[in-house]
Subunit: 271 residues, 2 copies
Amino acid sequence: MDPRVGAPRAASFRLPHNGWLFDLDGTVYRGETPIPGAAETIAALRTAGRRVAFLSNKPLATRADYAAKLTRLGIPTVADDVISSSLVLARHLRRLDAGAPVFVIGEPPLVAELSAHGFEARTDARVRWVVIAFDRTFDYAKLNTALQAVRGGARLIATNPDRTCPTETGEIPDCAGMIAAVEAVTGVPVEVIVGKPSPLMLEMALERLGLPARECAVVGDRIETDVVMGKRLGLATVLVLSGVTRADDPRIAEVAPDAVLGSIGELVQTI
Amino acid sequence: MDPRVGAPRAASFRLPHNGWLFDLDGTVYRGETPIPGAAETIAALRTAGRRVAFLSNKPLATRADYAAKLTRLGIPTVADDVISSSLVLARHLRRLDAGAPVFVIGEPPLVAELSAHGFEARTDARVRWVVIAFDRTFDYAKLNTALQAVRGGARLIATNPDRTCPTETGEIPDCAGMIAAVEAVTGVPVEVIVGKPSPLMLEMALERLGLPARECAVVGDRIETDVVMGKRLGLATVLVLSGVTRADDPRIAEVAPDAVLGSIGELVQTI
């Protein structure tokens, strides 16, 4: 019998791994535009029984928002398959100090994730942690509240280390600006940044996939976060050139991802 | 004839210097309260023909405001005797790039000083310098404007390096927070910080006094700015313990100011 008849067409992949973790911005989409081939590649992986989850350092939307966006772009996704820096922070902080009063330099989706994990957002002397995130409403009053909280004994934790965030109209300041301001005025360093390239985010993503690191691959457009993080924990790493990294970047040879592709669409080989 | 009759009483000083530079906050006053003996000491120096000027890293008021405050506290002062970080920045930038379009992270008194020195404050792509100062209206939009300006080629200059500013109700975030945020998101370091301990501020103050460094003394409450700066340029240095430095600070022995006094009041010796 002709194998092309009556069954989904088999796909061939550049890597044999069972678990696949995809960065979002610059890898699966850019702004509101899907990267060509993203939906087909992820559908083919799922059809072939591979497990897929998504990673984002950006704490500006809820996991449900990310899932809805992916679904809208042709990649049906549930919120639990999205591992955001907000989720990783909330879970990690719950292990460190469950139920602690926190002051949040961040936007409402992060506050909601923290609340869902049992944390109460406050601004007074009882604050035990200052949570620092990418926050487009960051201002002097928040910086001052953070300073007073640290003087009262509060500790510092942050979502992501990115300097800037690409948007369709250019790069805008990201969490590194908020972290640096707080560290500078308090003289106290942030204890942990949970987002990529922290292993914390990858560990939670592997837990979601239910697979060991050696059976998984991570696909992303940033060498210093996606690729470095994957290599540290022993995943296969795929750098895509559809985002911030250029083909002539000298770090590609240094860091040596397992594969360098033009985009996610090239993960599935034409049969 | 009795020397105590018919002539101002002669004063004796702990140091014989002809020029005297005084820090303001923590040295001459704390908030709205003069340090005991400040007015008498400065009056005695002036009566004895010594020259006096005042230094402030704080760009939140105009020099006229500082002069009015000193006058109100019993120390009659003209604006030209106040050397502020705003003034030093405006003068230094005029030497570097006269008339350049600037974007200002700062409050209205700084903008006014820059304007008085021929600089136009803008927010567009023509900006050649981002001026970073202690700014209680600092926010994400300003951070983003600074980022876009630097991407367009603008350079960075700042008023003062202080982490925090003491107030009557506690310390609040100072210019170091704004500097760190801009450096972190742009990846570009500030080229020059003109305020204490920069020699730029001291050079302009000596110019105002019209005296060489060896004939002058600087009096302040901060080791890392007032004393360090004075020592670098060869002035006599007097640390007063009426501000942020405690008598048991180990840096006092390391940095070795020429005199350590409880307060400005002890500069004049009882006869």
